[in-house]
């Protein structure tokens, strides 16, 4: 991507230029906790301005992969690049372009919404004045301006998640990772968050990696990576993955790929 992300035609999912640097490139990554192998030779890319769903059951290795991408764990083998910056070799440049929403909540419950945002901004070296302006703008965008001064503890689960997404965007990353962000939310809150994130992809050209075990969060035009027991079983546009397995929907496709007998919790 040599120029700012083009405004994509909403009817057509943006197909990235193959020569462009991927927002995220995972290249032959393996990881083990002692004798237990959590990831085995995992490779895939997330393109800028694309929505990539990382589909896997609990224990598939999604959280381990997120910990590696965010440099919480060291890479044992393989390579992780963020817009071409190797996370091991130049973590500063890589992390600057990355926004993360972890699965467990990571907000300071006793601090206010604004204080949480200002703290995050400081961690990225954003000056106080700039941080205050961006916080106000983001709080407006997620509809929580009136709550700016209240304690995070008093927010609902969905509001906390929206705040976490806003926080992850504060330093204007170009790649956003979300680890099962809708877990434990009601239908309305889920829908809000999904549409908010999809908007980021189409309007701001952000590359999104969305880890989930919920099939109904994936759209036909999304890129799909199926992770099972530490291995990538299939990847590509969701519709193609489904067709390749001879299935009608992603649910069946997933079951055929993994040989799973039981339905994982599909949205309930």
């Amino acid at each position: 991507m040599t120029s700012p992300a083009p405004i994509p035609d909403p009817r057509e999912a943006p197909r990235p230029d193959p020569a462009a640097v991927p927002a995220l490139s995972i290249d032959g990554v393996s990881h083990a906790y002692g004798p237990r192998r959590a990831l085995i030779d995992v490779s895939f890319n997330v393109q800028p301005a694309s929505f990539t769903a990382l589909l896997g059951l609990n224990g598939a290795g999604k959280s381990t992969l997120f910990s590696l991408i965010t440099r919480l764990f060291g890479i044992q083998s393989g390579r992780v690049g963020i817009f071409g910056h190797d996370i091991s070799k130049s973590p500063g440049e890589a992390l600057r372009l990355l926004g993360v929403v972890f699965q467990p909540r990571t907000l300071d419950l006793d601090l206010s919404l604004t204080q949480n945002l200002l703290y995050h901004a400081a961690l990225h070296g954003i000056s106080r004045r700039e941080a205050a302006a961006r916080s106000a703008e983001l709080l407006g965008r997620i509809g929580l301006t009136e709550r700016a001064g209240s304690k995070v503890r008093d927010l609902s689960g969905g509001q906390m998640r929206r705040l976490e997404i806003a926080r992850a965007l504060l330093h204007r990353p170009r790649l956003l990772l979300l680890d099962e962000p809708t877990v434990g939310l009601d239908v309305k809150a889920r829908a809000d968050i999904i549409s908010q994130v999809r908007q980021l992809v189409t309007e701001q050209g952000i590359g999104v990696l969305w880890a989930t075990h919920l099939f109904d969060e994936i759209m036909p035009n999304d890129d799909l990576v199926v992770l099972h027991q530490g291995k990538v079983l299939a990847q590509g546009p969701m519709s193609r993955v489904v067709t390749a397995t001879g299935a009608q929907d992603v649910n069946t496709a997933f079951m055929r790929l993994t040989g799973a007998q039981t339905m994982p919790g599909g949205g309930a």
Partner: protein
Amino acid sequence: MSSITTRDAPRGFSMQEYLTCLTGIVWREGLRFLHQRERFVSALVRPLVWLFIFAAGFRQVLGISIIPPYETYILYEVYIAPGLMAMIQLFNGMQSSLSMVYDREMGNMRTLLVSPLPRGFLLFCKLLAGTAVSLLQVYAFLLIAWFWDITPPSSGYLTVLPALILSGLMLGSLGMLISSGIKQLENFAGVMNFVIFPMFFASSALYPLWRVQEGSPYLYYLCEANPFTHAVELIRFALYGQINWISLAVVAACTIVFMIGAIWAYDPSRGLARRGPAGGEG
């Protein structure tokens, strides 16, 4: 490649960015401290119990001869005040380490560690923030102690500051080093038993070392080797406008060693990496 991918992200970080990050971390730690009033109260009550009850009871038992930096006979309360100041910092250092384990379990530590600034710098900021909190506690203690007739020279309140900063950093980095090895919150009881109590009792905080030497030469050597003894002595001398050079050297050296150890232990390719995923899900 980088020229086209990082058009809006210049390489490296400016001094201003480092400074913003530092003040942000100290600010957040201060806010959290203000919200945890019980922590402040218990941080104050602990040394005050020692001062008001223990010291009053022991006053008649332990005679203190004139030893530097004191120039006259002193009450036992006056003797143990610097030890109690160091104790406040010891507890605070370990409590910050507890909060790091808690933070790591709760995910707040993740927010800190995904900052693009160098990880060693982030941990150093965290240490400074913890030290700043311990300074608040120590000066609040000194204020109350003043009413209890513990009245060091007024310039001592200023000269003790650098000593407190250094000892706070040493005890904080020791706590951080220990926290990197603690998997779960419950293990903090073990830290109390195996770190805080031995360090506190095998030191010059409660009794001058010449008295310990009379009782047991081995314990004396142990006390002399205890970095906490030197933190206490550094504070004691600084409170009376003097420098105990040996203690200064020991505390400075220990600070450097513990800090490097802690930063090493939090290196992503070590410490954390050996453990399973923090979220409990793989």
